[in-house]
Protein backbone atom coordinates (compact mmCIF):
# COMPACT_ATOMS: atom_id res chain seq x y z
CA UNK A 1 0.00 0.00 0.00
CA UNK A 2 1.29 3.49 -0.71
CA UNK A 3 -1.12 6.32 -0.04
CA UNK A 4 -0.31 9.96 -0.72
CA UNK A 5 0.47 12.20 2.24
CA UNK A 6 0.08 15.97 2.49
CA UNK A 7 0.99 18.67 5.00
CA UNK A 8 -2.03 20.49 6.41
CA UNK A 9 -0.74 22.29 9.51
CA UNK A 10 2.45 23.87 10.87
CA UNK A 11 3.49 24.92 14.37
CA UNK A 12 6.87 26.11 15.66
CA UNK A 13 8.73 27.93 18.44
CA UNK A 14 12.20 29.05 17.34
CA UNK A 15 14.92 31.54 18.26
CA UNK A 16 13.43 33.72 15.51
CA UNK A 17 9.84 33.74 16.70
CA UNK A 18 7.13 32.01 18.67
CA UNK A 19 4.90 31.32 15.67
CA UNK A 20 5.58 29.96 12.20
CA UNK A 21 4.53 33.32 10.75
CA UNK A 22 7.00 35.29 12.87
CA UNK A 23 9.82 32.82 12.21
CA UNK A 24 9.20 32.86 8.46
CA UNK A 25 9.03 36.65 8.39
CA UNK A 26 12.41 36.92 10.07
CA UNK A 27 13.88 34.19 7.84
CA UNK A 28 12.83 36.22 4.79
CA UNK A 29 14.32 39.34 6.36
CA UNK A 30 17.63 37.54 6.95
CA UNK A 31 17.53 38.17 10.72
CA UNK A 32 19.64 36.35 13.28
CA UNK A 33 18.21 34.71 16.38
CA UNK A 34 21.63 34.31 18.04
CA UNK A 35 22.59 36.31 21.12
CA UNK A 36 24.41 36.00 24.45
CA UNK A 37 23.22 33.06 26.58
CA UNK A 38 20.78 34.20 29.29
CA UNK A 39 19.55 30.85 30.60
CA UNK A 40 22.58 30.33 32.83
CA UNK A 41 25.72 32.16 33.92
CA UNK A 42 27.87 31.73 30.82
CA UNK A 43 31.05 33.45 31.99
CA UNK A 44 33.15 30.34 32.58
CA UNK A 45 32.31 28.80 29.22
CA UNK A 46 34.33 29.00 26.02
CA UNK A 47 31.06 29.57 24.11
CA UNK A 48 28.75 32.22 25.55
CA UNK A 49 26.24 32.54 22.71
CA UNK A 50 23.21 30.53 21.58
CA UNK A 51 19.90 30.73 19.76
CA UNK A 52 17.47 30.95 22.66
CA UNK A 53 13.69 31.17 22.40
CA UNK A 54 12.75 34.72 23.42
CA UNK A 55 9.75 36.37 25.08
CA UNK A 56 7.80 33.13 25.11
CA UNK A 57 5.05 32.94 27.71
CA UNK A 58 4.15 29.29 28.27
CA UNK A 59 1.08 30.38 30.26
CA UNK A 60 -0.52 31.23 26.92
CA UNK A 61 -0.72 27.48 26.35
CA UNK A 62 -0.36 25.75 29.73
CA UNK A 63 -1.34 26.12 33.38
CA UNK A 64 1.19 27.20 36.03
CA UNK A 65 1.14 23.67 37.40
CA UNK A 66 1.95 22.19 33.99
CA UNK A 67 4.75 24.66 33.33
CA UNK A 68 6.40 23.80 36.65
CA UNK A 69 6.47 20.07 36.02
CA UNK A 70 7.63 20.04 32.40
CA UNK A 71 11.04 20.52 30.79
CA UNK A 72 11.25 23.28 28.18
CA UNK A 73 11.50 20.82 25.28
CA UNK A 74 8.08 19.43 26.25
CA UNK A 75 6.62 22.92 26.73
CA UNK A 76 7.84 23.93 23.25
CA UNK A 77 6.28 20.75 21.81
CA UNK A 78 2.91 21.27 23.52
CA UNK A 79 2.69 24.88 22.34
CA UNK A 80 3.77 23.98 18.79
CA UNK A 81 1.29 21.10 18.66
CA UNK A 82 -1.58 23.34 19.73
CA UNK A 83 -0.64 25.87 17.05
CA UNK A 84 -0.24 23.19 14.36
CA UNK A 85 -3.61 21.58 15.08
CA UNK A 86 -5.32 24.99 15.07
CA UNK A 87 -3.50 25.83 11.82
CA UNK A 88 -4.85 22.61 10.30
CA UNK A 89 -8.40 23.32 11.53
CA UNK A 90 -8.30 19.72 12.64
CA UNK A 91 -11.03 18.24 14.79
CA UNK A 92 -10.64 14.69 16.08
CA UNK A 93 -13.50 12.31 16.87
CA UNK A 94 -13.34 9.31 19.16
CA UNK A 95 -13.02 7.11 16.09
CA UNK A 96 -10.47 9.16 14.16
CA UNK A 97 -8.36 9.48 17.32
CA UNK A 98 -7.48 5.77 16.98
CA UNK A 99 -5.78 6.55 13.67
CA UNK A 100 -4.10 9.80 14.73
CA UNK A 101 -0.51 9.52 15.99
CA UNK A 102 2.40 11.52 17.35
CA UNK A 103 6.07 11.17 16.39
CA UNK A 104 8.24 13.83 18.03
CA UNK A 105 12.00 13.33 17.93
CA UNK A 106 14.43 14.77 20.45
CA UNK A 107 18.20 14.50 20.57
CA UNK A 108 18.60 14.91 24.31
CA UNK A 109 15.19 15.21 25.98
CA UNK A 110 14.95 16.96 29.34
CA UNK A 111 18.65 17.60 29.90
CA UNK A 112 17.97 20.96 31.59
CA UNK A 113 15.69 19.34 34.18
CA UNK A 114 18.19 16.54 34.77
CA UNK A 115 20.96 19.04 35.46
CA UNK A 116 18.82 21.04 37.91
CA UNK A 117 17.62 17.97 39.80
CA UNK A 118 21.21 16.68 40.02
CA UNK A 119 22.08 19.92 41.81
CA UNK A 120 19.26 19.23 44.29
CA UNK A 121 20.53 15.69 44.81
CA UNK A 122 23.99 16.96 45.67
CA UNK A 123 22.79 19.82 47.86
CA UNK A 124 19.84 18.26 49.65
CA UNK A 125 19.83 14.51 49.08
CA UNK A 126 17.63 11.98 47.20
CA UNK A 127 14.48 12.76 49.20
CA UNK A 128 14.22 16.15 47.53
CA UNK A 129 14.01 14.94 43.93
CA UNK A 130 10.78 15.90 42.23
CA UNK A 131 8.31 13.11 41.38
CA UNK A 132 8.05 14.86 38.02
CA UNK A 133 11.73 14.59 37.16
CA UNK A 134 11.65 11.30 35.26
CA UNK A 135 8.64 12.23 33.10
CA UNK A 136 10.30 15.58 32.36
CA UNK A 137 13.59 14.01 31.28
CA UNK A 138 12.56 11.08 29.08
CA UNK A 139 12.90 12.07 25.43
CA UNK A 140 9.63 10.46 24.37
CA UNK A 141 7.62 12.59 26.75
CA UNK A 142 7.28 15.39 24.21
CA UNK A 143 5.28 12.91 22.10
CA UNK A 144 3.63 11.48 25.23
CA UNK A 145 2.42 14.83 26.52
CA UNK A 146 1.20 15.91 23.07
CA UNK A 147 -0.70 12.66 22.64
CA UNK A 148 -2.39 13.17 26.03
CA UNK A 149 -3.24 16.80 25.28
CA UNK A 150 -4.65 16.08 21.82
CA UNK A 151 -6.25 12.73 22.64
CA UNK A 152 -4.35 10.99 19.81
CA UNK A 153 -4.45 7.22 20.36
CA UNK A 154 -2.65 6.02 17.24
CA UNK A 155 1.06 5.25 16.77
CA UNK A 156 3.47 7.11 19.05
CA UNK A 157 7.25 7.32 18.94
CA UNK A 158 10.33 9.44 19.50
CA UNK A 159 13.21 9.28 17.04
CA UNK A 160 16.54 9.79 18.76
CA UNK A 161 19.07 10.26 15.97
CA UNK A 162 20.90 13.30 17.33
CA UNK A 163 20.59 16.25 14.97
CA UNK A 164 18.46 14.24 12.51
CA UNK A 165 15.81 13.36 15.12
CA UNK A 166 13.15 15.75 13.81
CA UNK A 167 13.62 14.65 10.19
CA UNK A 168 13.42 10.95 11.10
CA UNK A 169 10.17 11.54 12.99
CA UNK A 170 8.67 13.22 9.93
CA UNK A 171 9.97 10.54 7.55
CA UNK A 172 8.57 7.80 9.77
CA UNK A 173 5.22 9.61 10.04
CA UNK A 174 5.12 9.86 6.24
CA UNK A 175 5.65 6.10 5.91
CA UNK A 176 3.20 5.35 8.72
CA UNK A 177 0.38 7.09 6.85
CA UNK A 178 1.51 5.94 3.39
CA UNK A 179 1.47 2.30 4.54
CA UNK A 180 -1.97 2.67 6.09
CA UNK A 181 -1.16 2.50 9.83
CA UNK A 182 -2.59 5.96 10.54
CA UNK A 183 -4.48 8.72 8.73
CA UNK A 184 -3.23 11.75 10.70
CA UNK A 185 0.18 12.28 12.26
CA UNK A 186 1.72 15.21 14.06
CA UNK A 187 5.49 14.96 13.56
CA UNK A 188 8.73 16.87 14.03
CA UNK A 189 11.33 17.53 16.69
CA UNK A 190 11.88 19.39 19.96
CA UNK A 191 14.97 20.17 22.01
CA UNK A 192 16.01 22.66 24.70
CA UNK A 193 19.71 21.95 24.88
CA UNK A 194 21.03 25.40 25.82
CA UNK A 195 22.31 24.05 29.13
CA UNK A 196 25.66 24.12 30.95
CA UNK A 197 26.38 20.44 30.26
CA UNK A 198 25.51 20.66 26.56
CA UNK A 199 27.64 23.78 26.03
CA UNK A 200 30.54 22.35 28.04
CA UNK A 201 30.27 18.99 26.27
CA UNK A 202 30.23 20.44 22.78
CA UNK A 203 33.01 22.86 23.72
CA UNK A 204 35.12 19.91 24.85
CA UNK A 205 34.73 18.53 21.30
CA UNK A 206 35.60 21.96 19.86
CA UNK A 207 32.34 21.78 17.93
CA UNK A 208 30.91 25.19 18.83
CA UNK A 209 31.66 28.67 17.55
CA UNK A 210 33.43 30.80 20.14
CA UNK A 211 32.67 34.06 18.33
CA UNK A 212 31.19 35.54 21.51
CA UNK A 213 31.89 39.16 20.55
CA UNK A 214 29.65 38.99 17.49
CA UNK A 215 26.81 36.55 18.23
CA UNK A 216 24.76 37.40 15.14
CA UNK A 217 27.75 36.64 12.89
CA UNK A 218 28.81 33.43 14.60
CA UNK A 219 26.68 30.99 12.58
CA UNK A 220 28.14 31.39 9.10
CA UNK A 221 27.66 28.23 7.05
CA UNK A 222 29.85 27.84 3.96
CA UNK A 223 31.84 30.95 4.89
CA UNK A 224 35.64 30.90 5.00
CA UNK A 225 35.79 31.96 8.66
CA UNK A 226 33.17 29.58 10.07
CA UNK A 227 34.36 28.09 13.35
CA UNK A 228 31.64 25.73 14.56
CA UNK A 229 27.92 25.64 15.16
CA UNK A 230 25.74 27.64 17.54
CA UNK A 231 23.28 25.70 19.71
CA UNK A 232 19.64 26.66 19.30
CA UNK A 233 16.43 25.48 20.95
CA UNK A 234 12.76 25.13 20.07
CA UNK A 235 10.32 22.89 18.25
CA UNK A 236 8.92 22.41 14.75
CA UNK A 237 5.86 20.23 14.11
CA UNK A 238 3.92 19.40 10.95
CA UNK A 239 0.46 17.90 10.61
CA UNK A 240 0.58 15.12 8.02
CA UNK A 241 -2.64 13.69 6.58
CA UNK A 242 -3.64 11.07 4.08
CA UNK A 243 -4.53 12.95 0.91
CA UNK A 244 -8.10 11.75 0.27
CA UNK A 245 -9.18 12.35 3.86
CA UNK A 246 -7.57 15.80 3.82
CA UNK A 247 -9.38 16.74 0.62
CA UNK A 248 -12.67 15.33 1.87
CA UNK A 249 -12.65 17.62 4.90
CA UNK A 250 -11.60 20.58 2.77
CA UNK A 251 -8.21 20.93 4.45
CA UNK A 252 -5.82 23.61 3.27
CA UNK A 253 -2.88 21.73 1.79
CA UNK A 254 0.56 23.35 2.14
CA UNK A 255 2.52 20.76 0.17
CA UNK A 256 2.89 17.07 -0.40
CA UNK A 257 5.59 15.00 1.26
CA UNK A 258 6.87 12.58 -1.34
CA UNK A 259 10.20 11.08 -0.27
CA UNK A 260 12.31 9.99 2.70
CA UNK A 261 15.87 8.71 2.74
CA UNK A 262 17.87 7.39 5.72
CA UNK A 263 21.45 6.11 5.68
CA UNK A 264 24.49 5.59 7.92
CA UNK A 265 28.04 6.74 7.22
CA UNK A 266 29.61 3.93 9.29
CA UNK A 267 32.68 6.14 9.53
CA UNK A 268 33.13 8.28 12.66
CA UNK A 269 31.07 9.29 15.72
CA UNK A 270 30.96 12.94 14.91
CA UNK A 271 32.64 13.70 11.59
CA UNK A 272 31.47 12.99 8.05
CA UNK A 273 33.89 11.43 5.56
CA UNK A 274 35.27 13.46 2.64
CA UNK A 275 32.69 13.42 -0.13
CA UNK A 276 30.09 12.34 2.46
CA UNK A 277 28.99 9.23 0.58
CA UNK A 278 26.32 8.47 3.17
CA UNK A 279 24.64 11.81 2.49
CA UNK A 280 24.91 11.24 -1.26
CA UNK A 281 23.12 7.90 -0.98
CA UNK A 282 20.58 9.41 1.37
CA UNK A 283 19.58 12.21 -1.01
CA UNK A 284 19.47 9.73 -3.91
CA UNK A 285 17.25 7.34 -1.94
CA UNK A 286 14.90 10.15 -0.95
CA UNK A 287 14.59 11.33 -4.55
CA UNK A 288 14.07 7.76 -5.82
CA UNK A 289 11.42 7.28 -3.13
CA UNK A 290 9.75 10.43 -4.45
CA UNK A 291 10.10 9.38 -8.08
CA UNK A 292 11.75 12.75 -8.74
CA UNK A 293 14.89 13.33 -10.81
CA UNK A 294 17.68 15.39 -9.23
CA UNK A 295 17.32 17.93 -12.04
CA UNK A 296 13.75 18.66 -10.91
CA UNK A 297 14.78 19.87 -7.45
CA UNK A 298 14.60 23.65 -7.04
CA UNK A 299 15.82 24.12 -3.47
CA UNK A 300 17.90 22.22 -0.94
CA UNK A 301 17.67 23.25 2.71
CA UNK A 302 21.14 22.12 3.75
CA UNK A 303 22.22 20.67 7.06
CA UNK A 304 24.77 23.50 6.86
CA UNK A 305 25.89 23.57 10.50
CA UNK A 306 28.72 26.11 10.03
CA UNK A 307 31.40 23.56 10.94
CA UNK A 308 34.53 23.33 8.80
CA UNK A 309 33.92 19.71 7.82
CA UNK A 310 30.15 19.47 7.34
CA UNK A 311 29.77 22.43 5.04
CA UNK A 312 32.61 21.35 2.76
CA UNK A 313 31.59 17.71 2.53
CA UNK A 314 27.91 18.50 2.22
CA UNK A 315 28.76 20.72 -0.75
CA UNK A 316 30.68 17.82 -2.31
CA UNK A 317 27.75 15.48 -1.67
CA UNK A 318 25.29 17.89 -3.29
CA UNK A 319 27.49 18.17 -6.37
CA UNK A 320 27.72 14.38 -6.62
CA UNK A 321 23.94 13.97 -6.45
CA UNK A 322 22.95 16.88 -8.67
CA UNK A 323 25.87 16.95 -11.15
CA UNK A 324 25.46 19.84 -13.67
CA UNK A 325 22.16 20.81 -12.03
CA UNK A 326 24.19 21.90 -8.95
CA UNK A 327 24.88 25.16 -10.79
CA UNK A 328 21.17 25.96 -11.12
CA UNK A 329 20.20 24.60 -7.72
CA UNK A 330 19.57 26.96 -4.81
CA UNK A 331 20.99 25.69 -1.51
CA UNK A 332 20.74 27.54 1.77
CA UNK A 333 21.43 26.93 5.43
CA UNK A 334 18.82 28.52 7.63
CA UNK A 335 20.96 27.47 10.62
CA UNK A 336 22.74 30.73 9.79
CA UNK A 337 19.71 32.41 11.38
CA UNK A 338 18.19 29.88 13.80
CA UNK A 339 21.39 28.27 15.00
CA UNK A 340 21.43 24.48 15.31
CA UNK A 341 18.30 23.45 17.12
CA UNK A 342 19.46 19.84 17.57
CA UNK A 343 16.47 17.47 17.29
CA UNK A 344 14.17 20.39 16.54
CA UNK A 345 16.24 21.36 13.47
CA UNK A 346 14.71 18.67 11.25
CA UNK A 347 11.20 19.78 12.21
CA UNK A 348 11.79 23.50 11.75
CA UNK A 349 13.75 23.03 8.53
CA UNK A 350 10.96 20.87 7.10
CA UNK A 351 8.55 23.72 7.88
CA UNK A 352 10.91 26.19 6.17
CA UNK A 353 11.16 23.92 3.10
CA UNK A 354 7.35 23.70 2.94
CA UNK A 355 7.05 27.49 3.29
CA UNK A 356 9.63 27.96 0.51
CA UNK A 357 7.34 25.91 -1.76
CA UNK A 358 4.14 27.73 -0.72
CA UNK A 359 5.59 31.20 -0.87
CA UNK A 360 7.90 30.61 -3.85
CA UNK A 361 10.69 32.18 -1.84
CA UNK A 362 14.23 30.93 -1.30
CA UNK A 363 15.41 31.50 2.30
CA UNK A 364 18.91 33.01 2.49
CA UNK A 365 22.17 31.92 4.06
CA UNK A 366 23.22 34.97 6.06
CA UNK A 367 26.77 35.90 7.11
CA UNK A 368 28.14 34.50 3.85
CA UNK A 369 30.62 37.34 3.49
CA UNK A 370 33.54 35.32 2.11
CA UNK A 371 32.52 31.93 0.75
CA UNK A 372 35.00 29.13 1.32
CA UNK A 373 36.56 28.34 -2.08
CA UNK A 374 35.50 24.72 -1.54
CA UNK A 375 31.91 25.93 -1.11
CA UNK A 376 30.96 27.37 -4.46
CA UNK A 377 27.27 26.71 -4.96
CA UNK A 378 24.44 29.24 -5.01
CA UNK A 379 23.73 29.45 -1.27
CA UNK A 380 21.28 32.39 -1.70
CA UNK A 381 23.67 34.72 0.15
CA UNK A 382 22.34 37.41 2.51
CA UNK A 383 18.90 38.01 1.01
CA UNK A 384 15.82 35.88 0.40
CA UNK A 385 14.93 35.52 -3.26
CA UNK A 386 11.61 35.15 -5.05
CA UNK A 387 11.62 32.03 -7.22
CA UNK A 388 9.15 29.31 -8.16
CA UNK A 389 9.87 26.35 -5.90
CA UNK A 390 8.15 23.14 -7.00
CA UNK A 391 10.39 20.66 -5.20
CA UNK A 392 12.41 21.15 -2.03
CA UNK A 393 14.75 18.69 -0.31
CA UNK A 394 15.71 19.02 3.36
CA UNK A 395 18.97 17.45 4.59
CA UNK A 396 19.96 16.67 8.15
CA UNK A 397 22.83 14.63 9.55
CA UNK A 398 23.56 13.54 13.10
CA UNK A 399 26.31 12.20 15.34
CA UNK A 400 26.71 8.49 14.83
CA UNK A 401 26.78 9.01 11.07
CA UNK A 402 23.04 9.42 10.53
CA UNK A 403 21.82 11.05 7.33
CA UNK A 404 18.16 11.85 6.68
CA UNK A 405 16.55 13.57 3.72
CA UNK A 406 12.94 14.60 3.12
CA UNK A 407 11.46 15.63 -0.23
CA UNK A 408 8.47 17.97 -0.48
CA UNK A 409 6.55 18.87 -3.63
CA UNK A 410 4.13 21.63 -4.54
CA UNK A 411 0.57 20.30 -4.40
CA UNK A 412 -1.44 21.29 -7.43
CA UNK A 413 -4.61 19.44 -6.59
CA UNK A 414 -6.23 16.30 -7.92
CA UNK A 415 -4.78 12.86 -8.49
Amino acid sequence: MHRRVVITGLGAITPLGNTVADTWKRICAGSSGIDRITKFDNRAFATQIAGEVKNFDPLCFLTKKEVRRLDDFIIFALASAEMAIADAFLVITELSAMRAGVYIGSAIGGLGTLEKEKEKLLQAGPGKISPFMIPAVLANLAAGNVSIKLGFKGPINCSVTACASGSCAIGDAFRTIAEGHADIMIAGGADAAVTPMAVAGFNAMRALSTNNEHPEKASRPFDRSRDGFVIGEGCGLLVLEELDAAQQRGARIYAEIVGYGLTSDAYHLAAPPPGHAGAVRCMQLALADAGIAPSDVDYVNAHGTSTPLNDRYETEAIKTVFQEHSRALAVSSTKSMTGHMMGAAGGVEAIISVKAICEDTLPPTINLDNPDPDCDLDYVPHTARAKTVKVALSNTSGFGGVNAALVFKKFTGGA
Binding site: T63, K65, R69, K128
Partner: protein
Protein backbone atom coordinates in the same frame (compact mmCIF):
# COMPACT_ATOMS: atom_id res chain seq x y z
CA UNK B 1 -1.40 33.59 59.37
CA UNK B 2 -2.29 30.52 61.41
CA UNK B 3 -1.21 26.98 60.64
CA UNK B 4 -4.36 26.08 58.69
CA UNK B 5 -4.10 29.15 56.52
CA UNK B 6 -0.43 28.44 55.85
CA UNK B 7 -1.23 24.87 54.83
CA UNK B 8 -3.90 26.11 52.41
CA UNK B 9 -1.40 28.65 51.00
CA UNK B 10 0.99 25.82 50.09
CA UNK B 11 -1.87 23.87 48.50
CA UNK B 12 -2.99 26.90 46.46
CA UNK B 13 0.58 27.47 45.22
CA UNK B 14 1.34 23.85 44.42
CA UNK B 15 -1.95 22.79 42.83
CA UNK B 16 -2.68 26.12 41.15
CA UNK B 17 -6.23 26.28 42.58
CA UNK B 18 -8.28 29.08 44.14
CA UNK B 19 -8.37 29.55 47.89
CA UNK B 20 -12.18 29.32 47.76
CA UNK B 21 -11.94 25.75 46.46
CA UNK B 22 -9.85 24.68 49.47
CA UNK B 23 -12.60 23.62 51.86
CA UNK B 24 -11.64 21.04 54.51
CA UNK B 25 -13.71 18.36 52.79
CA UNK B 26 -12.16 19.01 49.37
CA UNK B 27 -10.66 15.88 47.85
CA UNK B 28 -7.29 16.41 46.17
CA UNK B 29 -8.02 14.05 43.33
CA UNK B 30 -11.74 14.59 42.82
CA UNK B 31 -12.13 18.30 43.61
CA UNK B 32 -8.71 19.90 43.13
CA UNK B 33 -7.60 18.17 39.92
CA UNK B 34 -4.50 16.62 41.45
CA UNK B 35 -3.08 13.29 40.34
CA UNK B 36 -0.91 10.94 42.39
CA UNK B 37 2.33 12.68 41.35
CA UNK B 38 0.89 16.11 42.30
CA UNK B 39 0.06 14.71 45.73
CA UNK B 40 3.57 13.31 46.21
CA UNK B 41 5.10 16.65 45.34
CA UNK B 42 2.64 18.49 47.59
CA UNK B 43 3.54 16.27 50.52
CA UNK B 44 7.26 16.92 49.86
CA UNK B 45 6.61 20.67 50.04
CA UNK B 46 4.59 20.23 53.26
CA UNK B 47 7.47 18.26 54.79
CA UNK B 48 9.90 21.03 53.86
CA UNK B 49 7.69 23.91 54.96
CA UNK B 50 6.58 22.49 58.33
CA UNK B 51 9.58 20.32 59.20
CA UNK B 52 7.51 17.16 59.41
CA UNK B 53 7.88 13.72 57.90
CA UNK B 54 5.05 11.80 56.29
CA UNK B 55 5.57 8.09 55.72
CA UNK B 56 4.27 6.28 52.63
CA UNK B 57 1.76 4.49 54.88
CA UNK B 58 0.43 7.74 56.26
CA UNK B 59 0.29 9.12 52.73
CA UNK B 60 -2.27 6.41 51.85
CA UNK B 61 -4.69 8.05 54.31
CA UNK B 62 -4.39 11.51 52.88
CA UNK B 63 -7.36 12.16 50.63
CA UNK B 64 -8.75 15.55 51.69
CA UNK B 65 -7.42 18.91 52.86
CA UNK B 66 -8.74 18.09 56.35
CA UNK B 67 -6.55 14.92 56.36
CA UNK B 68 -3.44 17.06 55.71
CA UNK B 69 -4.38 19.72 58.27
CA UNK B 70 -5.04 17.11 60.96
CA UNK B 71 -1.78 15.29 60.23
CA UNK B 72 0.40 18.39 60.28
CA UNK B 73 -1.28 19.79 63.41
CA UNK B 74 -0.55 16.51 65.18
CA UNK B 75 3.02 16.27 63.87
CA UNK B 76 3.86 19.89 64.72
CA UNK B 77 2.45 19.52 68.24
CA UNK B 78 4.54 16.39 68.87
Amino acid sequence: MNLEEEIVTVIVEQLDVAREQCLPAASFINDLGADSLDLMELIMKMEERFGVSISDEELQNIRTIKNVIDFIKKAVAA
